[in-house]
Protein backbone atom coordinates (compact mmCIF):
# COMPACT_ATOMS: atom_id res chain seq x y z
CA UNK A 1 0.00 0.00 0.00
CA UNK A 2 1.19 3.50 -0.80
CA UNK A 3 0.22 6.66 1.00
CA UNK A 4 0.42 10.37 0.40
CA UNK A 5 -0.09 12.99 3.08
CA UNK A 6 -1.05 16.60 2.61
CA UNK A 7 -2.71 19.23 4.74
CA UNK A 8 -5.45 21.71 3.87
CA UNK A 9 -5.48 24.11 6.78
CA UNK A 10 -6.04 22.05 9.89
CA UNK A 11 -7.31 19.07 7.92
CA UNK A 12 -4.97 16.17 7.28
CA UNK A 13 -5.71 14.40 4.00
CA UNK A 14 -4.25 10.91 3.74
CA UNK A 15 -4.39 9.38 0.29
CA UNK A 16 -4.12 5.59 0.17
CA UNK A 17 -3.39 3.45 -2.88
CA UNK A 18 -3.09 -0.24 -3.61
CA UNK A 19 -4.06 -3.08 -1.32
CA UNK A 20 -5.21 -2.47 2.23
CA UNK A 21 -5.08 -6.05 3.42
CA UNK A 22 -3.92 -8.18 6.32
CA UNK A 23 -0.21 -7.99 6.97
CA UNK A 24 0.25 -5.08 4.60
CA UNK A 25 -1.84 -1.94 4.55
CA UNK A 26 -3.84 -2.52 7.71
CA UNK A 27 -0.98 -1.72 10.09
CA UNK A 28 0.17 1.16 7.92
CA UNK A 29 -3.19 2.92 8.31
CA UNK A 30 -2.85 2.78 12.08
CA UNK A 31 0.65 4.25 11.90
CA UNK A 32 -0.52 7.08 9.66
CA UNK A 33 -3.40 7.96 11.96
CA UNK A 34 -1.30 7.73 15.13
CA UNK A 35 1.32 9.95 13.53
CA UNK A 36 -1.31 12.52 12.53
CA UNK A 37 -2.77 12.63 16.04
CA UNK A 38 0.71 12.98 17.51
CA UNK A 39 1.21 16.02 15.28
CA UNK A 40 -2.03 17.53 16.55
CA UNK A 41 -3.95 16.75 13.37
CA UNK A 42 -7.35 15.62 14.61
CA UNK A 43 -9.41 16.31 11.49
CA UNK A 44 -8.51 13.51 9.15
CA UNK A 45 -9.83 12.73 5.68
CA UNK A 46 -8.93 9.32 4.26
CA UNK A 47 -8.88 9.39 0.46
CA UNK A 48 -9.50 5.81 -0.68
CA UNK A 49 -9.57 6.68 -4.39
CA UNK A 50 -6.45 4.67 -5.16
CA UNK A 51 -7.36 1.61 -3.10
CA UNK A 52 -7.83 -1.46 -5.29
CA UNK A 53 -8.62 -3.98 -2.57
CA UNK A 54 -9.54 -3.85 1.08
CA UNK A 55 -10.19 -6.86 3.28
CA UNK A 56 -11.83 -7.26 6.67
CA UNK A 57 -8.55 -6.45 8.41
CA UNK A 58 -8.25 -3.19 6.49
CA UNK A 59 -11.87 -2.34 7.24
CA UNK A 60 -11.33 -3.28 10.88
CA UNK A 61 -8.31 -1.02 11.09
CA UNK A 62 -10.32 1.88 9.68
CA UNK A 63 -12.97 1.24 12.32
CA UNK A 64 -10.32 1.13 15.06
CA UNK A 65 -8.85 4.39 13.75
CA UNK A 66 -12.30 5.97 13.70
CA UNK A 67 -12.69 5.07 17.38
CA UNK A 68 -9.22 6.32 18.25
CA UNK A 69 -9.70 9.65 16.47
CA UNK A 70 -13.14 10.16 18.00
CA UNK A 71 -11.79 9.45 21.49
CA UNK A 72 -9.20 12.14 20.84
CA UNK A 73 -11.99 14.64 20.11
CA UNK A 74 -11.20 14.44 16.41
CA UNK A 75 -13.06 13.46 13.25
CA UNK A 76 -12.22 10.80 10.67
CA UNK A 77 -14.04 10.88 7.33
CA UNK A 78 -13.74 8.97 4.06
CA UNK A 79 -13.57 10.13 0.48
CA UNK A 80 -13.55 8.67 -3.04
CA UNK A 81 -14.77 5.16 -2.36
CA UNK A 82 -14.88 2.84 -5.36
CA UNK A 83 -18.21 1.07 -5.94
CA UNK A 84 -16.74 -2.18 -4.61
CA UNK A 85 -15.42 -0.62 -1.40
CA UNK A 86 -18.74 1.12 -1.00
CA UNK A 87 -20.46 -2.28 -1.36
CA UNK A 88 -18.15 -3.75 1.28
CA UNK A 89 -19.01 -0.97 3.73
CA UNK A 90 -22.68 -1.26 2.85
CA UNK A 91 -23.04 -4.96 3.65
CA UNK A 92 -21.53 -4.52 7.10
CA UNK A 93 -23.59 -1.37 7.68
CA UNK A 94 -20.43 0.64 8.30
CA UNK A 95 -21.75 3.04 5.71
CA UNK A 96 -23.85 4.35 8.61
CA UNK A 97 -20.79 4.92 10.80
CA UNK A 98 -18.53 6.90 8.49
CA UNK A 99 -19.16 10.24 6.84
CA UNK A 100 -18.40 9.56 3.18
CA UNK A 101 -17.82 12.06 0.36
CA UNK A 102 -17.12 12.02 -3.37
CA UNK A 103 -15.92 15.61 -3.51
CA UNK A 104 -12.89 16.89 -1.60
CA UNK A 105 -14.20 20.43 -1.27
CA UNK A 106 -17.44 19.18 0.21
CA UNK A 107 -15.55 16.82 2.52
CA UNK A 108 -13.21 19.55 3.74
CA UNK A 109 -16.15 21.89 4.33
CA UNK A 110 -17.94 19.29 6.46
CA UNK A 111 -15.39 19.32 9.29
CA UNK A 112 -16.44 21.31 12.31
Amino acid sequence: MKSEIRDRGDIRIIGLAGKVTIGAGDVKIRELIDSSLAQGKKKILLDLGGVSTIDSSGIGEMVACYTTVTRNQGQLKLMNLSPKISDILQVTQLITVFDIFDDEQEAVGSFT
Binding site: I22, G23, I88, V91, T92, Q93
Partner: protein, 152 residues
Protein backbone atom coordinates in the same frame (compact mmCIF):
# COMPACT_ATOMS: atom_id res chain seq x y z
CA UNK B 1 -17.74 -22.35 -20.35
CA UNK B 2 -19.93 -24.83 -22.22
CA UNK B 3 -21.94 -27.47 -20.40
CA UNK B 4 -19.57 -30.24 -21.48
CA UNK B 5 -16.41 -28.30 -20.63
CA UNK B 6 -13.96 -30.10 -18.35
CA UNK B 7 -13.72 -29.17 -14.70
CA UNK B 8 -10.79 -26.83 -14.11
CA UNK B 9 -8.96 -27.52 -10.88
CA UNK B 10 -6.23 -25.92 -8.81
CA UNK B 11 -4.57 -27.35 -5.71
CA UNK B 12 -2.22 -25.38 -3.51
CA UNK B 13 -0.31 -25.97 -0.31
CA UNK B 14 0.66 -22.70 1.34
CA UNK B 15 2.81 -21.70 4.27
CA UNK B 16 1.26 -19.73 7.10
CA UNK B 17 2.42 -16.30 6.13
CA UNK B 18 0.13 -13.51 5.02
CA UNK B 19 2.22 -12.96 1.91
CA UNK B 20 1.24 -16.48 0.80
CA UNK B 21 -2.34 -15.28 0.40
CA UNK B 22 -1.37 -13.47 -2.79
CA UNK B 23 -0.16 -16.72 -4.34
CA UNK B 24 -3.57 -18.29 -3.87
CA UNK B 25 -5.32 -15.13 -5.03
CA UNK B 26 -3.44 -15.22 -8.31
CA UNK B 27 -4.09 -18.93 -8.81
CA UNK B 28 -7.83 -18.58 -8.27
CA UNK B 29 -8.02 -15.42 -10.38
CA UNK B 30 -6.22 -17.31 -13.17
CA UNK B 31 -8.62 -20.21 -12.79
CA UNK B 32 -11.53 -17.81 -13.09
CA UNK B 33 -10.00 -16.34 -16.23
CA UNK B 34 -9.49 -19.76 -17.78
CA UNK B 35 -13.14 -20.44 -17.25
CA UNK B 36 -15.76 -17.95 -18.30
CA UNK B 37 -15.93 -16.08 -15.04
CA UNK B 38 -15.90 -12.32 -15.49
CA UNK B 39 -13.85 -9.83 -13.50
CA UNK B 40 -16.74 -8.85 -11.24
CA UNK B 41 -17.37 -12.44 -10.13
CA UNK B 42 -13.66 -13.09 -9.86
CA UNK B 43 -13.21 -10.05 -7.58
CA UNK B 44 -15.77 -11.24 -5.04
CA UNK B 45 -14.56 -14.84 -5.16
CA UNK B 46 -11.00 -13.69 -4.47
CA UNK B 47 -12.26 -11.44 -1.68
CA UNK B 48 -13.95 -14.42 0.03
CA UNK B 49 -10.88 -16.58 -0.53
CA UNK B 50 -8.64 -13.93 1.07
CA UNK B 51 -10.81 -13.92 4.20
CA UNK B 52 -10.78 -17.72 4.45
CA UNK B 53 -7.01 -17.80 4.08
CA UNK B 54 -6.45 -14.99 6.57
CA UNK B 55 -8.54 -16.90 9.12
CA UNK B 56 -6.69 -20.14 8.40
CA UNK B 57 -3.29 -18.50 8.81
CA UNK B 58 -4.04 -16.26 11.78
CA UNK B 59 -6.69 -18.08 13.81
CA UNK B 60 -6.17 -21.65 12.59
CA UNK B 61 -2.43 -22.07 12.21
CA UNK B 62 -1.65 -19.11 14.47
CA UNK B 63 1.06 -17.90 12.10
CA UNK B 64 3.08 -21.06 12.73
CA UNK B 65 5.14 -21.31 9.54
CA UNK B 66 5.55 -25.06 10.05
CA UNK B 67 1.81 -25.51 9.54
CA UNK B 68 0.26 -25.62 6.11
CA UNK B 69 -2.93 -24.34 4.52
CA UNK B 70 -4.43 -26.47 1.77
CA UNK B 71 -6.56 -24.92 -0.97
CA UNK B 72 -8.60 -26.91 -3.48
CA UNK B 73 -10.54 -25.11 -6.21
CA UNK B 74 -12.79 -26.49 -8.92
CA UNK B 75 -14.50 -24.52 -11.65
CA UNK B 76 -17.22 -26.38 -13.48
CA UNK B 77 -20.12 -25.20 -15.54
CA UNK B 78 -21.84 -22.48 -13.59
CA UNK B 79 -20.16 -23.18 -10.27
CA UNK B 80 -16.89 -22.41 -8.50
CA UNK B 81 -16.02 -24.44 -5.42
CA UNK B 82 -13.17 -23.63 -3.02
CA UNK B 83 -12.10 -25.62 0.03
CA UNK B 84 -9.57 -24.20 2.51
CA UNK B 85 -8.13 -26.38 5.27
CA UNK B 86 -5.80 -25.43 8.11
CA UNK B 87 -3.85 -27.39 10.70
CA UNK B 88 -5.24 -25.64 13.74
CA UNK B 89 -7.54 -26.81 16.50
CA UNK B 90 -10.86 -25.87 14.91
CA UNK B 91 -13.38 -23.39 16.26
CA UNK B 92 -17.08 -22.97 16.95
CA UNK B 93 -18.44 -20.86 14.12
CA UNK B 94 -21.73 -20.35 15.98
CA UNK B 95 -19.80 -18.40 18.62
CA UNK B 96 -18.79 -15.72 16.11
CA UNK B 97 -20.93 -12.64 16.80
CA UNK B 98 -22.94 -10.83 14.14
CA UNK B 99 -20.73 -7.90 13.05
CA UNK B 100 -23.76 -5.93 11.86
CA UNK B 101 -25.40 -5.89 15.29
CA UNK B 102 -25.37 -2.37 16.71
CA UNK B 103 -23.17 -3.36 19.65
CA UNK B 104 -20.57 -4.88 17.29
CA UNK B 105 -20.40 -2.23 14.57
CA UNK B 106 -17.31 -0.59 16.03
CA UNK B 107 -15.45 -3.80 16.78
CA UNK B 108 -12.26 -3.90 14.72
CA UNK B 109 -12.46 -7.66 14.12
CA UNK B 110 -15.01 -10.34 13.32
CA UNK B 111 -16.08 -9.49 9.77
CA UNK B 112 -14.18 -12.12 7.77
CA UNK B 113 -16.73 -14.94 7.92
CA UNK B 114 -19.53 -12.45 7.32
CA UNK B 115 -17.83 -11.30 4.11
CA UNK B 116 -17.32 -14.90 2.99
CA UNK B 117 -21.03 -15.53 3.42
CA UNK B 118 -21.95 -12.33 1.63
CA UNK B 119 -19.82 -12.99 -1.43
CA UNK B 120 -20.31 -16.74 -1.83
CA UNK B 121 -23.62 -18.59 -2.21
CA UNK B 122 -22.74 -21.34 0.24
CA UNK B 123 -20.19 -21.44 3.08
CA UNK B 124 -19.88 -24.50 5.29
CA UNK B 125 -17.46 -25.08 8.15
CA UNK B 126 -16.26 -28.50 9.23
CA UNK B 127 -13.28 -30.30 10.67
CA UNK B 128 -10.41 -31.99 8.89
CA UNK B 129 -9.53 -35.53 10.02
CA UNK B 130 -6.67 -33.99 12.03
CA UNK B 131 -8.99 -31.58 13.81
CA UNK B 132 -8.29 -28.41 11.84
CA UNK B 133 -10.89 -26.21 10.22
CA UNK B 134 -12.20 -26.99 6.77
CA UNK B 135 -14.27 -24.36 5.01
CA UNK B 136 -16.16 -25.07 1.82
CA UNK B 137 -17.26 -22.09 -0.27
CA UNK B 138 -19.41 -22.29 -3.38
CA UNK B 139 -20.34 -19.52 -5.77
CA UNK B 140 -22.97 -20.11 -8.42
CA UNK B 141 -21.88 -18.12 -11.46
CA UNK B 142 -24.60 -16.06 -13.07
CA UNK B 143 -25.40 -17.03 -16.68
CA UNK B 144 -24.65 -13.48 -17.84
CA UNK B 145 -21.36 -13.56 -16.01
CA UNK B 146 -20.27 -16.81 -17.64
CA UNK B 147 -20.32 -15.51 -21.19
CA UNK B 148 -17.86 -12.67 -20.75
CA UNK B 149 -14.15 -12.97 -20.09
CA UNK B 150 -12.01 -10.26 -18.50
CA UNK B 151 -14.89 -7.80 -18.27
CA UNK B 152 -14.15 -4.69 -16.23
Amino acid sequence: MSDDAPVLRASLILGSRFCDIEVAERAVADLCSLGECNAEESYWVVTALREALANAIRHGNRLDTARRVRVECALETGRLTIRVEDEGDGFDVSAVPDPTAAENLLRPTGRGIFYMRQFMNRVEFGRTPAGGTSVLMVRELRPSARSVCHEE
